[in-house]
Point group: C2
Chain length 221, copies 2
Protein backbone atom coordinates (compact mmCIF):
# COMPACT_ATOMS: atom_id res chain seq x y z
CA UNK A 1 0.00 0.00 0.00
CA UNK A 2 1.27 3.50 -0.81
CA UNK A 3 2.84 5.42 2.02
CA UNK A 4 2.01 9.13 2.24
CA UNK A 5 5.34 9.87 0.63
CA UNK A 6 4.41 7.62 -2.23
CA UNK A 7 1.12 9.40 -2.85
CA UNK A 8 2.87 12.72 -2.77
CA UNK A 9 5.43 11.38 -5.20
CA UNK A 10 2.65 10.24 -7.47
CA UNK A 11 1.11 13.72 -7.54
CA UNK A 12 4.48 15.18 -8.32
CA UNK A 13 5.03 12.77 -11.18
CA UNK A 14 1.54 13.45 -12.50
CA UNK A 15 2.30 17.13 -12.56
CA UNK A 16 5.57 16.56 -14.39
CA UNK A 17 4.07 14.30 -17.02
CA UNK A 18 1.11 16.62 -17.52
CA UNK A 19 3.39 19.62 -17.88
CA UNK A 20 5.68 17.87 -20.36
CA UNK A 21 2.71 16.73 -22.41
CA UNK A 22 1.23 20.21 -22.54
CA UNK A 23 4.59 21.74 -23.39
CA UNK A 24 4.82 19.36 -26.33
CA UNK A 25 1.21 19.70 -27.44
CA UNK A 26 0.47 23.38 -27.05
CA UNK A 27 3.85 25.04 -26.55
CA UNK A 28 5.43 27.02 -23.77
CA UNK A 29 3.24 30.10 -23.55
CA UNK A 30 -0.13 28.39 -23.73
CA UNK A 31 0.93 25.92 -21.08
CA UNK A 32 -0.02 28.05 -18.10
CA UNK A 33 0.40 26.93 -14.54
CA UNK A 34 -3.37 26.97 -14.23
CA UNK A 35 -3.66 24.75 -17.29
CA UNK A 36 -1.17 22.27 -15.92
CA UNK A 37 -2.88 22.18 -12.54
CA UNK A 38 -6.34 21.80 -14.04
CA UNK A 39 -5.22 19.05 -16.41
CA UNK A 40 -3.69 17.24 -13.46
CA UNK A 41 -6.82 17.74 -11.34
CA UNK A 42 -5.16 19.79 -8.66
CA UNK A 43 -5.27 23.45 -7.73
CA UNK A 44 -2.65 25.90 -8.91
CA UNK A 45 -1.52 26.23 -5.33
CA UNK A 46 -0.75 22.53 -5.25
CA UNK A 47 1.37 22.80 -8.36
CA UNK A 48 3.39 25.42 -6.52
CA UNK A 49 3.66 23.16 -3.53
CA UNK A 50 5.69 20.77 -5.66
CA UNK A 51 7.45 23.20 -7.99
CA UNK A 52 8.70 26.61 -7.00
CA UNK A 53 8.13 28.05 -10.44
CA UNK A 54 7.10 27.34 -14.00
CA UNK A 55 10.77 27.43 -14.90
CA UNK A 56 11.29 24.52 -12.55
CA UNK A 57 8.88 22.49 -14.63
CA UNK A 58 10.77 23.45 -17.75
CA UNK A 59 13.90 22.17 -16.07
CA UNK A 60 12.08 18.89 -15.61
CA UNK A 61 11.62 18.92 -19.35
CA UNK A 62 15.33 19.45 -19.82
CA UNK A 63 16.12 16.56 -17.54
CA UNK A 64 13.76 14.36 -19.47
CA UNK A 65 15.19 15.40 -22.82
CA UNK A 66 18.67 14.78 -21.60
CA UNK A 67 17.86 11.25 -20.52
CA UNK A 68 16.24 10.52 -23.84
CA UNK A 69 19.21 12.00 -25.65
CA UNK A 70 21.51 9.71 -23.74
CA UNK A 71 19.45 6.60 -24.33
CA UNK A 72 19.20 7.34 -28.04
CA UNK A 73 22.83 8.23 -28.56
CA UNK A 74 24.63 5.60 -26.53
CA UNK A 75 23.49 2.56 -28.57
CA UNK A 76 24.66 4.25 -31.73
CA UNK A 77 28.20 4.84 -30.53
CA UNK A 78 30.57 2.16 -31.71
CA UNK A 79 34.14 1.80 -30.59
CA UNK A 80 36.72 2.51 -33.26
CA UNK A 81 34.89 5.24 -35.13
CA UNK A 82 36.73 8.47 -35.43
CA UNK A 83 35.72 11.36 -33.27
CA UNK A 84 33.99 13.20 -36.11
CA UNK A 85 31.52 10.37 -36.71
CA UNK A 86 30.81 9.94 -33.04
CA UNK A 87 30.27 13.64 -32.64
CA UNK A 88 27.81 13.67 -35.51
CA UNK A 89 25.80 10.99 -33.79
CA UNK A 90 25.70 12.74 -30.44
CA UNK A 91 24.87 16.14 -31.87
CA UNK A 92 22.27 14.83 -34.31
CA UNK A 93 20.47 12.73 -31.72
CA UNK A 94 20.47 15.77 -29.49
CA UNK A 95 18.71 17.80 -32.16
CA UNK A 96 16.36 14.90 -32.82
CA UNK A 97 15.25 14.88 -29.24
CA UNK A 98 14.77 18.63 -29.02
CA UNK A 99 12.89 18.75 -32.31
CA UNK A 100 9.32 18.78 -30.98
CA UNK A 101 10.14 21.79 -28.85
CA UNK A 102 11.64 24.00 -31.52
CA UNK A 103 8.80 26.48 -31.22
CA UNK A 104 9.75 27.10 -27.63
CA UNK A 105 12.07 29.38 -29.52
CA UNK A 106 14.32 31.55 -27.45
CA UNK A 107 12.57 30.42 -24.28
CA UNK A 108 14.46 27.19 -24.68
CA UNK A 109 17.71 28.98 -23.98
CA UNK A 110 16.35 31.83 -21.95
CA UNK A 111 15.11 29.53 -19.27
CA UNK A 112 18.14 27.28 -19.36
CA UNK A 113 20.29 30.35 -18.85
CA UNK A 114 18.26 31.66 -15.92
CA UNK A 115 19.63 30.82 -12.49
CA UNK A 116 16.11 31.19 -11.16
CA UNK A 117 15.93 30.08 -7.59
CA UNK A 118 17.39 26.60 -7.42
CA UNK A 119 18.08 25.49 -10.94
CA UNK A 120 20.64 27.33 -13.02
CA UNK A 121 22.55 26.48 -16.20
CA UNK A 122 26.13 26.86 -15.12
CA UNK A 123 25.48 27.01 -11.41
CA UNK A 124 26.06 24.39 -8.76
CA UNK A 125 22.47 23.16 -8.65
CA UNK A 126 22.51 21.97 -12.23
CA UNK A 127 26.12 20.90 -11.95
CA UNK A 128 24.84 17.36 -11.66
CA UNK A 129 22.82 17.58 -14.85
CA UNK A 130 25.69 19.22 -16.67
CA UNK A 131 28.12 16.55 -15.54
CA UNK A 132 25.76 13.91 -16.81
CA UNK A 133 25.51 15.64 -20.17
CA UNK A 134 29.26 15.95 -20.39
CA UNK A 135 29.64 12.29 -19.56
CA UNK A 136 27.89 11.48 -22.82
CA UNK A 137 30.64 13.29 -24.68
CA UNK A 138 33.17 11.50 -22.48
CA UNK A 139 31.76 8.23 -23.74
CA UNK A 140 32.15 9.37 -27.32
CA UNK A 141 35.71 10.54 -26.71
CA UNK A 142 36.56 7.28 -24.99
CA UNK A 143 35.32 5.18 -27.90
CA UNK A 144 37.01 7.23 -30.60
CA UNK A 145 40.00 5.92 -32.54
CA UNK A 146 42.58 7.25 -32.73
CA UNK A 147 42.42 8.47 -29.20
CA UNK A 148 42.79 12.21 -28.78
CA UNK A 149 46.13 13.42 -27.44
CA UNK A 150 46.59 13.02 -23.72
CA UNK A 151 47.04 16.75 -23.25
CA UNK A 152 43.38 17.40 -23.91
CA UNK A 153 41.72 14.03 -23.44
CA UNK A 154 40.37 14.92 -20.02
CA UNK A 155 39.02 18.31 -20.97
CA UNK A 156 37.77 17.53 -24.43
CA UNK A 157 34.35 16.28 -23.31
CA UNK A 158 33.59 19.55 -21.59
CA UNK A 159 34.76 21.52 -24.60
CA UNK A 160 32.56 19.40 -26.84
CA UNK A 161 29.62 20.10 -24.57
CA UNK A 162 30.21 23.81 -25.04
CA UNK A 163 30.22 23.20 -28.78
CA UNK A 164 26.92 21.38 -28.34
CA UNK A 165 25.50 24.40 -26.51
CA UNK A 166 26.61 26.58 -29.41
CA UNK A 167 24.92 24.25 -31.88
CA UNK A 168 21.78 24.40 -29.76
CA UNK A 169 21.86 28.17 -29.88
CA UNK A 170 22.15 27.98 -33.65
CA UNK A 171 19.28 25.49 -33.77
CA UNK A 172 17.01 27.75 -31.76
CA UNK A 173 17.35 30.47 -34.35
CA UNK A 174 17.35 28.13 -37.33
CA UNK A 175 14.17 28.89 -39.21
CA UNK A 176 14.91 26.63 -42.17
CA UNK A 177 12.45 23.76 -42.76
CA UNK A 178 13.06 20.96 -40.27
CA UNK A 179 16.07 22.95 -39.13
CA UNK A 180 18.08 21.40 -41.92
CA UNK A 181 20.68 24.13 -41.73
CA UNK A 182 21.54 22.92 -38.26
CA UNK A 183 21.97 19.42 -39.67
CA UNK A 184 24.35 20.71 -42.31
CA UNK A 185 26.25 22.66 -39.70
CA UNK A 186 26.67 19.53 -37.61
CA UNK A 187 27.75 17.36 -40.51
CA UNK A 188 30.38 19.86 -41.55
CA UNK A 189 31.54 21.04 -38.14
CA UNK A 190 31.98 17.60 -36.58
CA UNK A 191 34.79 16.49 -38.92
CA UNK A 192 36.43 19.88 -38.53
CA UNK A 193 36.47 19.53 -34.78
CA UNK A 194 37.92 16.08 -35.18
CA UNK A 195 40.68 17.47 -37.37
CA UNK A 196 41.36 20.21 -34.87
CA UNK A 197 41.86 17.61 -32.19
CA UNK A 198 44.31 15.70 -34.32
CA UNK A 199 46.12 18.91 -35.12
CA UNK A 200 46.76 19.48 -31.46
CA UNK A 201 49.48 16.83 -31.72
CA UNK A 202 51.74 19.22 -33.59
CA UNK A 203 54.33 20.55 -31.11
CA UNK A 204 53.61 24.22 -31.80
CA UNK A 205 49.89 23.73 -31.63
CA UNK A 206 50.18 21.52 -28.60
CA UNK A 207 51.92 24.27 -26.71
CA UNK A 208 49.06 26.68 -27.12
CA UNK A 209 46.45 24.01 -26.53
CA UNK A 210 48.10 23.24 -23.22
CA UNK A 211 47.93 26.91 -22.33
CA UNK A 212 44.26 26.98 -23.21
CA UNK A 213 43.58 23.95 -21.06
CA UNK A 214 45.47 25.59 -18.25
CA UNK A 215 43.43 28.74 -18.64
CA UNK A 216 40.27 26.73 -18.35
CA UNK A 217 41.51 25.03 -15.22
CA UNK A 218 42.65 28.32 -13.73
CA UNK A 219 39.31 29.90 -14.46
CA UNK A 220 37.22 27.04 -13.20
CA UNK A 221 37.56 28.37 -9.67
Amino acid sequence: MPTPTAKSEATRELLVSTALRLFREIGYEKTTMRAIATAANVSTGSAYYYFASKDDLVHELYRSLQEEHRSRALPLLREGQNLGELLKVVLNTGIDVMGPYHDFGSNFISIAIRPSATTSPFGSESAVARARAISLFRQAVGLSRPQPPLAIRDDLPELLWYAYMAVTLFWVYDSSPHQERTRRLIDRAAPLISRLVILSRLPVVRKIVEDIVQLIHGTRQ
Copy 2:
Protein backbone atom coordinates in the same frame (compact mmCIF):
# COMPACT_ATOMS: atom_id res chain seq x y z
CA MET B 1 8.67 76.03 -31.72
CA PRO B 2 8.51 72.23 -31.46
CA THR B 3 6.56 70.48 -34.19
CA PRO B 4 4.25 67.67 -33.06
CA THR B 5 6.87 65.18 -34.17
CA ALA B 6 9.44 66.94 -32.04
CA LYS B 7 7.24 66.83 -28.96
CA SER B 8 6.59 63.17 -29.53
CA GLU B 9 10.29 62.58 -29.91
CA ALA B 10 10.90 64.39 -26.63
CA THR B 11 8.43 62.15 -24.81
CA ARG B 12 10.10 59.13 -26.29
CA GLU B 13 13.52 60.29 -25.19
CA LEU B 14 12.20 61.11 -21.75
CA LEU B 15 10.88 57.57 -21.44
CA VAL B 16 14.20 56.12 -22.55
CA SER B 17 16.29 58.20 -20.17
CA THR B 18 13.90 57.53 -17.30
CA ALA B 19 13.95 53.82 -17.97
CA LEU B 20 17.75 53.66 -18.20
CA ARG B 21 18.09 55.63 -14.98
CA LEU B 22 15.71 53.34 -13.14
CA PHE B 23 17.39 50.24 -14.54
CA ARG B 24 20.67 51.54 -13.17
CA GLU B 25 19.30 52.73 -9.83
CA ILE B 26 16.86 50.05 -8.81
CA GLY B 27 17.57 47.13 -11.14
CA TYR B 28 15.56 45.27 -13.72
CA GLU B 29 12.75 43.75 -11.71
CA LYS B 30 11.86 46.78 -9.63
CA THR B 31 11.78 48.94 -12.73
CA THR B 32 8.20 48.19 -13.69
CA MET B 33 6.53 49.72 -16.69
CA ARG B 34 4.24 51.55 -14.30
CA ALA B 35 7.24 52.94 -12.43
CA ILE B 36 8.86 54.15 -15.64
CA ALA B 37 5.64 55.76 -16.83
CA THR B 38 4.97 57.41 -13.48
CA ALA B 39 8.52 58.73 -13.19
CA ALA B 40 8.19 60.17 -16.68
CA ASN B 41 4.80 61.68 -15.86
CA VAL B 42 2.87 59.72 -18.45
CA SER B 43 0.42 56.86 -18.23
CA THR B 44 1.48 53.26 -18.71
CA GLY B 45 -0.53 53.22 -21.88
CA SER B 46 1.60 56.01 -23.26
CA ALA B 47 4.78 54.11 -22.53
CA TYR B 48 3.36 51.30 -24.62
CA TYR B 49 2.52 53.74 -27.37
CA TYR B 50 6.25 54.33 -27.79
CA PHE B 51 7.64 50.94 -26.89
CA ALA B 52 6.01 47.65 -27.70
CA SER B 53 7.38 45.94 -24.61
CA LYS B 54 9.60 46.27 -21.59
CA ASP B 55 12.18 44.26 -23.49
CA ASP B 56 12.26 47.00 -26.08
CA LEU B 57 13.34 49.44 -23.41
CA VAL B 58 16.05 47.04 -22.35
CA HIS B 59 17.21 46.98 -25.94
CA GLU B 60 17.48 50.76 -25.70
CA LEU B 61 19.78 50.15 -22.77
CA TYR B 62 21.87 47.81 -24.89
CA ARG B 63 22.12 50.39 -27.63
CA SER B 64 23.23 52.98 -25.14
CA LEU B 65 25.81 50.68 -23.56
CA GLN B 66 27.16 49.80 -26.95
CA GLU B 67 27.69 53.43 -27.89
CA GLU B 68 29.42 54.11 -24.62
CA HIS B 69 31.57 51.04 -25.09
CA ARG B 70 32.62 52.30 -28.49
CA SER B 71 33.40 55.80 -27.32
CA ARG B 72 35.43 54.50 -24.42
CA ALA B 73 37.35 51.88 -26.36
CA LEU B 74 38.21 53.70 -29.58
CA PRO B 75 40.44 56.40 -28.02
CA LEU B 76 42.44 53.72 -26.27
CA LEU B 77 43.26 51.78 -29.40
CA ARG B 78 46.65 52.66 -30.81
CA GLU B 79 48.01 51.49 -34.10
CA GLY B 80 50.92 49.12 -33.88
CA GLN B 81 49.90 47.28 -30.74
CA ASN B 82 49.55 43.57 -31.09
CA LEU B 83 46.12 42.04 -31.28
CA GLY B 84 46.26 40.72 -27.73
CA GLU B 85 46.68 44.18 -26.22
CA LEU B 86 43.96 45.67 -28.38
CA LEU B 87 41.62 42.85 -27.49
CA LYS B 88 42.24 43.40 -23.79
CA VAL B 89 41.24 47.01 -24.18
CA VAL B 90 38.05 46.28 -26.08
CA LEU B 91 36.95 43.48 -23.77
CA ASN B 92 37.83 45.33 -20.57
CA THR B 93 36.07 48.53 -21.58
CA GLY B 94 33.08 46.40 -22.49
CA ILE B 95 32.99 44.96 -18.99
CA ASP B 96 33.54 48.42 -17.52
CA VAL B 97 30.48 49.73 -19.27
CA MET B 98 28.27 46.81 -18.28
CA GLY B 99 29.46 46.92 -14.68
CA PRO B 100 26.57 48.90 -13.16
CA TYR B 101 24.13 46.39 -14.56
CA HIS B 102 25.73 43.23 -13.25
CA ASP B 103 22.77 42.53 -10.98
CA PHE B 104 20.52 42.30 -13.99
CA GLY B 105 22.01 38.85 -13.80
CA SER B 106 20.78 36.37 -16.32
CA ASN B 107 18.18 38.85 -17.55
CA PHE B 108 21.03 40.59 -19.26
CA ILE B 109 21.47 37.68 -21.61
CA SER B 110 17.95 36.31 -21.47
CA ILE B 111 16.54 39.46 -22.99
CA ALA B 112 19.33 39.89 -25.48
CA ILE B 113 18.67 36.37 -26.66
CA ARG B 114 14.93 36.85 -27.02
CA PRO B 115 13.72 37.67 -30.52
CA SER B 116 10.68 39.31 -28.94
CA ALA B 117 8.65 41.13 -31.53
CA THR B 118 10.99 43.41 -33.41
CA THR B 119 14.31 43.29 -31.66
CA SER B 120 16.24 40.04 -31.62
CA PRO B 121 19.84 39.13 -30.89
CA PHE B 122 20.94 37.36 -34.01
CA GLY B 123 17.98 38.34 -36.13
CA SER B 124 17.78 40.86 -38.91
CA GLU B 125 16.32 43.63 -36.77
CA SER B 126 19.34 43.85 -34.56
CA ALA B 127 21.65 43.09 -37.45
CA VAL B 128 22.47 46.78 -37.54
CA ALA B 129 23.45 46.87 -33.89
CA ARG B 130 25.47 43.71 -34.26
CA ALA B 131 27.30 45.05 -37.28
CA ARG B 132 28.17 48.15 -35.32
CA ALA B 133 29.50 46.08 -32.45
CA ILE B 134 31.54 43.97 -34.82
CA SER B 135 32.96 47.09 -36.42
CA LEU B 136 34.62 47.92 -33.13
CA PHE B 137 36.52 44.67 -33.37
CA ARG B 138 37.25 45.44 -36.99
CA GLN B 139 38.92 48.64 -35.85
CA ALA B 140 41.04 46.72 -33.40
CA VAL B 141 42.01 44.15 -36.00
CA GLY B 142 42.86 46.88 -38.49
CA LEU B 143 45.18 48.64 -36.06
CA SER B 144 46.97 45.51 -34.91
CA ARG B 145 50.57 44.80 -35.90
CA PRO B 146 51.50 42.38 -37.24
CA GLN B 147 48.37 42.16 -39.34
CA PRO B 148 46.50 38.88 -39.08
CA PRO B 149 46.82 36.55 -42.05
CA LEU B 150 44.70 37.45 -45.03
CA ALA B 151 42.84 34.18 -44.88
CA ILE B 152 40.97 35.24 -41.76
CA ARG B 153 41.36 39.01 -41.68
CA ASP B 154 37.84 39.62 -42.92
CA ASP B 155 36.14 37.17 -40.62
CA LEU B 156 38.21 37.69 -37.52
CA PRO B 157 36.18 40.64 -36.23
CA GLU B 158 33.01 38.59 -36.21
CA LEU B 159 34.77 35.71 -34.48
CA LEU B 160 36.13 38.09 -31.87
CA TRP B 161 32.63 39.39 -31.29
CA TYR B 162 31.49 35.85 -30.56
CA ALA B 163 34.35 35.57 -28.10
CA TYR B 164 33.12 38.78 -26.53
CA MET B 165 29.64 37.28 -26.19
CA ALA B 166 31.20 34.28 -24.46
CA VAL B 167 33.08 36.56 -22.09
CA THR B 168 29.85 38.39 -21.36
CA LEU B 169 28.17 35.12 -20.54
CA PHE B 170 31.00 34.33 -18.17
CA TRP B 171 30.71 37.80 -16.63
CA VAL B 172 27.01 37.40 -15.99
CA TYR B 173 27.67 34.37 -13.83
CA ASP B 174 30.84 35.72 -12.27
CA SER B 175 30.03 36.21 -8.59
CA SER B 176 33.57 37.13 -7.54
CA PRO B 177 34.00 40.62 -6.06
CA HIS B 178 33.95 43.23 -8.80
CA GLN B 179 33.86 40.34 -11.26
CA GLU B 180 37.61 40.12 -11.01
CA ARG B 181 37.60 36.60 -12.35
CA THR B 182 36.27 37.94 -15.61
CA ARG B 183 39.17 40.42 -15.67
CA ARG B 184 41.65 37.62 -15.19
CA LEU B 185 39.95 35.61 -17.90
CA ILE B 186 40.25 38.52 -20.31
CA ASP B 187 43.87 39.22 -19.50
CA ARG B 188 44.83 35.61 -20.04
CA ALA B 189 42.55 34.79 -22.96
CA ALA B 190 43.38 37.82 -25.08
CA PRO B 191 47.05 36.93 -25.63
CA LEU B 192 46.05 33.34 -26.30
CA ILE B 193 43.66 34.41 -29.00
CA SER B 194 46.38 36.58 -30.46
CA ARG B 195 48.74 33.60 -30.54
CA LEU B 196 46.06 31.47 -32.17
CA VAL B 197 45.75 34.02 -34.92
CA ILE B 198 49.48 34.01 -35.54
CA LEU B 199 49.47 30.25 -35.54
CA SER B 200 47.03 30.25 -38.41
CA ARG B 201 49.95 31.15 -40.66
CA LEU B 202 51.33 27.63 -40.42
CA PRO B 203 50.42 25.78 -43.61
CA VAL B 204 48.74 22.85 -41.88
CA VAL B 205 46.82 25.09 -39.55
CA ARG B 206 45.94 27.46 -42.31
CA LYS B 207 44.27 24.71 -44.24
CA ILE B 208 41.83 23.93 -41.48
CA VAL B 209 41.29 27.58 -40.66
CA GLU B 210 40.28 28.15 -44.25
CA ASP B 211 37.82 25.30 -43.96
CA ILE B 212 36.38 26.80 -40.82
CA VAL B 213 35.99 30.17 -42.48
CA GLN B 214 34.30 28.47 -45.40
CA LEU B 215 31.95 26.66 -43.03
CA ILE B 216 31.00 29.97 -41.50
CA HIS B 217 30.33 31.49 -44.89
CA GLY B 218 28.35 28.47 -46.00
CA THR B 219 26.27 28.57 -42.85
CA ARG B 220 25.63 32.28 -42.90
CA GLN B 221 22.79 31.73 -45.31
